[in-house]
Subunit: 544 residues, 2 copies
């Protein structure tokens, strides 16, 4: 027997409809590529997004067709997302910081029919266009008066493209399981892989995200979208914010410390988040200027582990609560937030800092388990580490182009590729990426733990640990370190610093000082490159 | 093209699974019928709820079968809900305060196969049992040692009934549109009507309800469930609280001012809600004792309009924020909360009180419109009042036993039966029940507005306004008033008090002082009774 409640689908475009109806005048602020500030609101955004939908339908775009977007975080980009999804097509945000071969690969893999391109990326796209046979038209996100001379096929200025529209147009209703967005992983292992979000998964994730122990956006919040929209669906904030009626601030290309600090203060931002690298530059800028943040309340830090000193700096100098955030493109994208609860409220000092550095606990509709190599569940004791797997309606079941369920284990869980402990209160702590674990004589050594410890040395700016081949132990840890300017720590000093902080057999077999470490397009350590160069370092050294 | 995210249904029992896994030790406190306090937690509740499911399946209960519950709000009752829904059956909470004919009517209308009954209601059920042919078994919510002698068919003590269970049992997955709960309206117009909630609608409503501008429960909250579980799905709190990992306090039969005040303080309750009548008795008790509430932060008041003096008393004497709440069994059940936002934060004095008395604004997935008699949309200007209609996946589409969509207009909206204005910021203000409007010479007069004004007179304890027949104007307002103890206001004094506060032609044609006013089982004014008695009062009086 079925219930007798209304049949209403969970659709992305209903979020903007709600925001336009209930919070139509709420500000949406964008920094443009020339540094200037543009202001619109949800009512205007809805009207323009509906013109995008109508235009796509007029061009013969069908349900499920992919439309690429190559743009910074700004209001035009966001209204395109809603317009594309509202028409039943699939928005495919492309990270402009990827290597150009990767950009060409994912456009061809997605078979994008139209590309919507920020004016700043026209030269980049022109250099690739020969290799993009699926793209029928390029829409440049600008006015006719600013339109560059371009060789791009059927190029048109965005404002001309959406100039006409029927004001009585209303978005259609359709199956909430329809694809809404195609997001590619950053590809630290092989080619980028596509994750095909459904309308349902995006709406559910945004609902979950707005609970107080997650982001908890309210109509009184002003949210700065520092995570680029092209990265992991912008952590779902482009939907969570309008869903709550929160104001949205989109920083465009200005992701440097000075530009972000200015927006935080001038727009009275209450809530923001992003990767640690960005916040380091914001803190450095504020320190240099002797400024304090006066409006910001909460900051969500994820993507890589948040250093203890950063948590303290925000809390003590600026009165801002830092919550670690954990997720991935495959995880819909946010699976856990480190918020407190009765069992952890009373922690103090180092114990509280230890907790703040965990990846936190999952909300309803996200379920974790940790497993051994054979898929057997391991205990939640905060000590035993295992492969972290996750289940829920916002989690991937198969990569784009692969058979349904092909990314799942027999219980329907997706393997995150992370190794983690879970404590008795359900807080997850990542100990490593599975592929980055060092397997020494059958025992695991966490590369992340060693990197974090080495980075705490005042003379070390950045550190990386890989498993280097070893004739006796199979693998042993090798530490690669970048010295801080003016500092000259040597190998003995670093080893001395690490001693006593980890088991003796965890200490790296060698330390190599380098000028810089390689990073992926999204700013993560690129261990693929390090392994290619240093895998035999210990073997070659042994004879000495 | 469909997305490639996991197929996981939104099911009620997943809420308790989540709470048991992530917040297993969180307290669930019940006041029993003897006044004593019993404490359990979500982990224990899950284990017992799974035994309820197994027992139902063993008794041959099928998907969609209805199981009635006649019980106060307590942990046993709640675990029964989860156990019934987890087995794929439908829990049907029965309000013990209904008239016995109504109780018999709804049990027969629902065709309940099993009744789960608090020990206090055994005599009531025994008096009806002859008229309940569908009920195969009565489970008394007690231990064998407290089991009364009873004539009820196949009666068994609950603790015996659920004594056995397979600890490896896991709840099944099924279609989220399956019926989970059957809730009956209180029936101020004719017989009670059933609303058949789906698993999906309950889970979505609970997710929505946990956004900060709605209830916004957190794992740090301690929630007192004053709204009886048998009323409008307990305002969805029995799901919202465990979903957030909040502690739940269930007051059993103790809904008097003294019992509730004690629980608020002893359990350090942070959040609660209910109808104004209950909170009046709590405030009176606290005043008489000279006590102040020291833990409570937010209180949600709905069911009928919250008096201004109550908002002020909670705010000024106890430091508690009052938020008006608006909903109905048909509305899933909560459709709007009066929380502030940038456009209203700055209001002061009377303007703020006016806002606080509105029904508030709807969250995402709830959509209102106001219409004239022909279904044409009316403007959101805060002045024009019209029939309030609502759309969304948590709103009813047809009453139980009626064809799909039969309760909807051509745009898919359900008519709430209320008349309301909506202002330009989207706040809804009820002006009357459609059937209670006084239609004087083709113009509408709000009975609720007149009642509220009359109740503000210091000598009036309660007031009711009905449209009484009138030879010239069709209907004219008649005010029925109960005097406050010791006060002796007369007709002229009340009319003088109302003058200038409403248009001259709104003033009641007559005022009748009565000893008390009739109420329905859920505490609402029963105007049906008043109309039956006083409809011809003005006609009969005219000759004078």
């Amino acid at each position: 027997m079925l219930g007798l409640m209304q049949d209403r689908s969970l659709l992305c475009h209903r979020v903007l409809e709600h925001a336009a109806r209930q919070h139509g005048g709420r500000r949406v602020v964008s920094r443009l590529h020339d540094g200037s500030i543009a202001v619109t609101n949800y009512a205007q955004m809805e009207s323009r997004a509906m013109r995008v939908s109508q235009r796509l339908l007029a061009e013969g775009i069908q349900q499920g067709d992919r439309i690429g977007t190559l743009a910074w975080s700004n209001a035009n980009h966001l209204e395109c997302w809603f317009g594309i999804a509202g028409a039943g097509a699939v928005y495919h945000p492309i990270n402009p910081r990827l290597f150009s071969e990767q950009i060409a690969f994912i456009i061809n893999d997605a078979k994008d029919r139209i590309l919507l391109v920020d004016i700043a990326f026209v030269p980049l796209v022109e250099s690739l266009a020969d290799r993009l046979p699926s793209v029928e038209r390029y829409v440049i996100l600008t006015h006719r008066s600013s339109m560059p001379e371009t060789s791009l096929r059927n190029a048109i200025a965005y404002e001309d493209w959406i100039a006409e529209g029927d004001a009585s147009y209303r978005w259609p209703d359709f199956d909430e399981n329809s694809a809404a967005s195609l997001a590619y992983t950053s590809g630290t292992t092989g080619q980028p892989k596509g994750v095909l979000y459904s309308h349902r998964s995006i709406v559910l994730m945004s609902l979950i995200a707005n609970s107080p122990d997650m982001y908890g956006f309210s109509a009184n919040d002003i949210v700065l979208q520092v995570v680029p929209m092209c990265h992991a669906n912008g952590w779902t904030w482009p939907f969570s914010a309008p869903m709550a009626g929160a104001s949205l601030v989109l920083p465009g290309p200005g992701l440097d410390g000075a530009s972000l600090s200015e927006l935080l203060q001038s727009e009275k931002v209450t809530c923001t988040g992003g990767v640690p690298t960005v916040w380091k530059s914001v803190l450095d800028h504020l320190d240099a200027q002797g400024e304090k943040l006066t409006h910001l309340k909460r900051i969500y830090i994820g993507g890589s582990p948040c250093p203890r000193s950063m948590i303290q700096a925000f809390n003590e100098r600026h009165g801002v609560e830092v919550r670690s955030a954990f997720g991935a493109t495959e995880m819909g994208p946010m699976s856990a937030i480190c918020s407190l609860m009765p069992e952890t409220n009373g922690l103090e000092g180092e114990a509280m800092m230890d907790l703040r550095q965990t990846q936190g606990r999952p909300p309803f509709l996200v379920e974790f388990k940790i497993c051994d190599e054979h898929g057997r569940r391991l205990p939640w004791d905060g000590q035993t580490s295992g492969h972290l797997r996750v289940r829920g309606p916002c989690i991937v079941q198969a990569y784009y182009g692969k058979p349904k369920g092909s990314a799942l284990d027999e219980e329907g869980f997706f393997d995150t590729g992370d190794v983690a402990t879970i404590n008795r209160h359900g807080y997850v702590r990542l100990t490593d990426r599975a592929k980055d674990l060092v397997k020494s004589g059958g025992e695991w050594i966490s590369s992340v733990d060693l990197e974090n410890l080495a980075s705490d040395h005042p003379g070390v700016r950045e550190a990386a640990v890989i498993g280097a081949r070893h004739p006796k132990w199979d693998e042993r840890p090798l530490l690669l370190a970048v010295r801080r300017e003016g500092a000259k720590p040597d190998k003995a000093e670093i080893l001395e610093f690490l001693s006593g902080k980890v088991a003796r057999w965890w200490l790296p077999d060698d330390i190599v000082f380098v000028d810089e470490l390689p990073h992926t397009a999204t700013g993560k350590l690129d261990k693929k490159v390090l392994r290619a160069k240093y895998a035999d370092h210990l073997v070659e050294r042994i004879p000495e």
